[in-house]
């Protein structure tokens, strides 16, 4: 039997019982959409429509409508790709790594964070696909499929191909992990459903779950092993994304520090996005008793740690560029800090290195307003980090006659908006029709971690 210390941190406030959890989480699934949800949905669909026009124009005309040129071959598209993949790291980190460390506070945020992961990875994957230009034949370029050229196979030595495998595996495993967790909660909704349609839908989704002790035993074992598999997986994904750059010979990209630096940055931006979304969700769905200030504080502490790692990585890059004695490498970094894109560089530095340090003050890291503001600042900063790495390393290459600037066109902006539209539409649909918190897991900690009345 599990022995629980009486000195546990309170994770659920106001003396919620097991039945209260069912009521509180099922309420928005069963009720009519609220007005704020409808407004959010209308805005998201509007953004999606504008973005869809940009995507249509892109596919019709080709990627020439983007602002890239022969010197800057990767720009907003790959920036957005890396940014979205980074955001997609928090969900599996929370549910897998924190499960292995038995951190019970994960239970209030893992469901929504995993949903966010899945939608963010979908957004990310669209960018390299659009970048291929003719994405309808992209399968032959990206997957080892037999073809009419002999078969001419894909190049397994290429980090871009590793990326295909890493992202698709990460997406699949995250989706499966998320869905396994959802099954018991769907069963709860199924057994409460009063109308015919929701009964049919949720009984299909719940896979005939009955909560038998034997099934729970297997379920726990599956969850633990999936966590064990997902932990190295989540670390491998951004490592491989960073190798897209690190294994090249471009000054500014060709650095061995990239894998850990990218992984820390991914966790950093992922947690920031989780905070942004959860602060809104908790307010709109009245989940303040489940996502408490204590949860927010813990997430802010993760942001301080990863933000500091990222800061150290920025400084290390500069030191190594100087210490290497390679003039091209040194120029790439001098150009970052003092060249025409230095505004982007200082935006990145301010948002990623200075802003999160404010969380050292307890008042700031336990305040909802400042957490919201800093979480958005961090995500802006992380977008600029990828922009700085990609564009400033490319725009002044070896031949000064081909030095150029990159200017985004409305299609660059439009396709980025498309990903936002998709992301928020998907998240709003999730938050309305799926249980936003993991009911079954929360119920298991009611006795040990719920505030006594």
């Amino acid at each position: 039997m599990q022995v629980t210390s009486p000195l546990r941190e309170t994770l659920i406030t106001k003396g919620k019982t097991v039945h209260d959890i069912t009521e509180d989480i099922c309420r928005q699934v069963e009720g009519k959409p609220t007005k704020s949800w409808m407004i959010g949905m209308a805005i998201s669909l509007g953004i999606l429509a504008i973005g869809a026009y940009a995507v249509f124009a892109l596919l019709w005309e080709g990627i020439g409508v983007w602002g890239m040129n022969k010197t800057v071959g990767w720009a907003w598209d790959i920036t957005n790709f890396v940014w979205w993949v980074g955001i997609g790291h928090a969900g599996t980190l929370i549910s897998a790594i924190l499960l292995l460390f038995r951190q019970k506070w994960r239970m209030s945020i893992n469901r929504a964070a995993e949903a966010m992961t899945i939608f963010a990875v979908i957004c990310a994957a669209t960018f390299p696909m659009f970048h291929m230009g003719r994405l309808w034949i992209g399968f032959y370029w990206a997957l080892p499929l037999p073809n009419a050229f002999g078969s001419l196979w894909v190049n397994f030595n290429s980090p871009l191909l590793w990326d295909v495998f890493a992202i698709s595996t990460y997406f699949t495993v995250s989706l499966v992990f998320w869905y396994i967790g959802l099954i018991p909660d769907f069963a709860t909704i199924r057994d409460r459903a009063t109308n015919k349609i929701s009964k049919a839908v949720y009984s299909a989704l719940s896979f005939g779950w009955d909560g038998a002790a034997k099934t729970w035993m297997r379920y726990e074992s599956v969850a633990l092993i999936l966590a064990g598999l997902a932990t190295p997986l989540v670390l491998s994904v951004h490592t491989i994304v960073s190798m897209d750059f690190a294994t090249s010979v471009i000054p500014g990209w060709h650095t061995t520090i990239f894998p850990p630096y990218f992984v820390a940055g991914a966790i950093f931006s992922g947690f920031a996005m989780v905070l942004t979304l959860m602060l809104v969700t908790r307010k709109v769905f009245k989940l303040e008793d489940y996502i408490t200030i204590y949860h927010i504080e813990l997430m802010n502490i993760v942001i301080i740690i990863t933000g500091s790692i990222v800061g150290v990585a920025y400084i290390t890059e500069f030191f190594i560029a100087w210490y290497s004695g390679v003039p091209y490498e040194q120029y790439a970094f001098i150009n970052r800090a003092f060249g025409p894109y230095n505004w982007a560089y200082y935006t990145m530095m301010t948002c990623n290195v200075i802003a999160p340090q404010l969380f050292w003050f307890k008042k700031i890291r336990t305040s909802i307003v400042s957490t919201m503001v800093i979480s958005i600042i961090v995500n802006i900063g992380m977008w600029f980090e990828r922009f700085v790495i990609i564009v400033t390393s490319l725009h002044r290459d070896y031949l000064p006659s081909s030095w150029v600037m990159f200017y985004p066109t409305k299609y660059d902006v439009g396709v980025y908006l498309f990903s936002f539209g998709f992301f928020f539409t998907a998240f709003l649909l999730f938050s309305k029709f799926f249980p936003v918190l993991n009911m079954a897991e929360l119920k298991s900690i009611v006795k040990s971690s719920s505030e006594k009345k």
Partner: protein, 175 residues
């Protein structure tokens, strides 16, 4: 009496009471059909005397399959079927094959294990579960005792369940 049709249910409110009850009920010689809970109760599988699941072995086997498939595929494609000089490296060079091998190991291990779990637990869309008491997906733990596989009478079993701390004792009959 035919088994699998007529049940006595003990409803429990608290997981710790349930854990002790399972031990008590089993000691008094009553065979428990199954316990249904809204959340995983730690130690319940030991109290019920279930053998440890062998799903970890399945996961390992599927992982092994993924590793060997990935290595075979890459070696055959780039080493045998169409050898190509890429960056002056060997046709078959192991280090660049590792990332894809790792990803396929994780992928096959995860999908294989989950598929095995679905099959052994008989989880599938549109399966209609046999719910003893629908409160078992809300906040109650339901212990089901099959009258057909116990020699004791309904009243005797009800008494054992009551004494073990059940908040209610109900009948459930399936046609």
């Amino acid at each position: 009496m035919e088994s699998g049709k007529n049940f006595v249910l003990g409803i429990y409110n608290d997981e710790d009471v349930l854990l002790e009850a399972v031990t008590k009920v089993r000691e008094s010689g009553v065979k428990i059909h199954e316990v249904y809970s809204p959340f995983p109760v730690h130690g319940l599988e030991d109290a019920l005397g279930y053998k440890r699941t062998r799903l970890p072995i399945a996961a390992f086997m599927f992982g092994l399959l993924g590793t060997s498939l990935a290595l075979t595929m890459q070696t055959w494609m780039l080493g045998v079927d169409w050898p190509m000089i890429i960056g002056g490296k060997n046709f078959i060079s192991l280090p660049p094959f590792i990332p894809v091998t790792f990803e396929l190991t994780v992928l096959l291990s995860a999908l294989g294990m989950v598929a095995t779990f679905m099959i052994v637990s008989d989880l599938k869309p549109y399966k209609k579960p046999r719910m003893f008491d629908i409160r078992s997906t809300d906040d109650k733990h339901v212990m089901a005792v099959d009258l057909g596989s116990n020699n004791l009478s309904k009243a005797e079993i009800g008494k054992v369940l009551n004494e073990s701390g059940a908040s209610e004792v109900n009948d459930k009959n399936f046609d």
